[in-house]
């Protein structure tokens, strides 16, 4: 792959407990990774994931807190139920399951997210660019009203 895989990264704003890690994500992310911070994984609507996929993401990474460590008590658990199933469902219609990855972090974890993103990028390089479900209408040059 000549270009680096495009990764849509959805991050719960509480899951990176160490300021160093959060700071790295906020300022040092490579340009092929697109960050969306959410108040909780429970706020990640499956439609967000679908929009990333339709828009051409080669992979989607979702990071949140381990069970029983959610800032909102059970947001992560509800998210796990829904988003895991949504991933299975996308797979049902031909989107490779390996393209969506979850990272559930412990509050003690340090330096994990960098490693996870690097590993995900490597694995996506092996998989090659995504082909299926990339259908979003390209906006014509000059904007919507051109």
């Amino acid at each position: 792959m000549s270009q680096k895989p495009k990764i849509a990264f959805f991050q719960c704003q509480w899951c990176l407990y160490s300021p160093a890690d959060q700071n790295w994500v906020d300022t040092q992310l490579p340009s092929n990774i697109h960050l969306t911070k959410t108040p909780c994984t429970g706020r990640i609507n499956p439609l967000y994931v679908l929009n990333a996929v339709q828009g051409g993401a080669d992979g989607v990474m979702i990071s949140g807190c381990m069970p029983e460590q959610c800032h909102f008590k059970t947001g992560n658990m509800a998210a796990r139920r829904q988003l895991e199933e949504f991933n299975d469902f996308l797979n049902h219609i031909g989107y490779e399951k390996e393209r969506v990855r979850f990272v559930w972090l412990d509050l003690q974890d340090r330096g994990i997210i960098q490693k996870q993103l690097a590993q995900f990028e490597q694995d996506l390089e092996v998989l090659g660019p995504a082909k299926n479900l990339i259908t979003r209408t390209k906006i014509a040059e000059g904007g919507l009203n051109a």
Binding site: L47, Q54, A78, H92, T135
Partner: protein, 316 residues
């Protein structure tokens, strides 16, 4: 076959005694192929009530069209009874305000299959448990009832209404619950590319008319995500992303809520298949959470609840 006179007698009684204010059932439509849902308010109107294999709709859909406190009677088959239960779980109606006339169901005849055999100019249809006799100008055709059934009915495991106030007719033997699983597994055995090709071929014919949504008892949102402008959740035109997005998300919203009644498919003017999506989700809910939609009026669907078990249920 259901005893129509017994149904009518009971409906008349409900209305005459004031047990309910309205009964939702079917009346004859423009052609014999399309009986239509109807609201019966007085015993006199009940003469025109019909109930046969060509009644395509899931009547539970109309529950959310009526005021919550209205006393409603409804003629329900197996899937409709379960849809009603699912709506009660979601607090769209309370059981006290409902009177369910259950009719054990021998399966819904997919009207399209009749048209395939004999064309559209149908004068009359008669049926018994094995055979459907269709009269047209060209003559009379005898068709096997089983071959005309809608796919959802062929794999149905809940023909008998499970919580009706009165059952009209004898309970039927239940279907094999494995049939639904086998159908999903068959589709899943295809390769990624084949599955995507199938999905594309179905979704791309969609004209975004939303008949599938209107036909579904569980699509009762006041504002559907596709009608939402700010933020715009998905492309709203008949574009590839819009059509695929609609199919993906409509089905996904039915997770743990769909009874596989098949009303969405039968309503689609483009003959688009949709239950291969919802059945996958149903199958997963059975596998992962041992959950079957509408078996009672308390159990919340898996997405509406979490348990501490979840800690061990996920791989990561």
């Amino acid at each position: 076959m259901p005893d129509l006179d017994a149904i009518k007698t009971e409906v008349r009684r409900l209305l005459a005694d004031g047990v309910v204010e309205v009964v939702v059932a079917f009346k004859p439509g423009d052609t014999p192929l399309h009986p239509q849902p109807a609201f019966f308010h007085s015993p006199e109107e009940v003469d025109s009530l019909v109930h046969n294999g060509l009644c395509q709709n899931n009547l539970a859909t109309f529950l959310t069209h009526l005021p919550k406190t209205k006393k409603v009677g409804m003629v329900v088959r197996g899937c409709e009874n379960r849809s009603v239960n699912a709506l009660i779980v979601e607090k769209q109606k309370s059981r006290e305000n409902l009177y369910l006339l259950g009719v054990p169901c021998e399966g819904i005849i997919d009207w399209r299959k009749i048209v395939e055999h004999v064309g559209e100019a149908v004068l009359a249809v008669h049926e018994n448990s094995d055979e459907v006799t269709v009269e047209t100008r060209e003559g009379q055709f005898n068709l096997s009832r089983n071959e005309l059934l809608h796919a959802s009915c062929l794999r149905c495991a809940h023909r008998n209404p499970i919580s009706a106030d009165i059952l009209i007719g004898e309970p039927l033997p239940e279907g094999d619950p494995n049939l639904a699983r086998v159908a999903v597994e068959e589709f899943e055995s295809l390769t990624n590319e084949e599955r995507y090709a199938w999905f594309q071929k179905e979704a791309e014919r969609c004209i975004r008319c939303y008949a599938c949504r209107e036909a579904c008892p569980m699509c009762y949102c006041t504002e559907c995500f596709v009608d939402h402008i700010e933020p715009r959740w998905t492309e709203s035109g008949a574009t590839p992303a819009g059509m695929q997005g609609w199919h993906i998300v409509r089905a996904f919203h039915q997770t743990g809520r769909c009874t596989d009644c098949g009303a969405c498919e039968r309503a689609c003017p483009m003959d688009i298949k949709m239950t291969y999506l919802t059945e996958k989700l149903n199958n997963d809910m059975r596998k992962k959470y041992a959950f079957e939609v509408g078996l009672d009026i308390q159990t919340q669907p898996p997405f509406a609840t979490v348990t501490l078990d979840d800690k061990n249920r996920f791989s990561v």
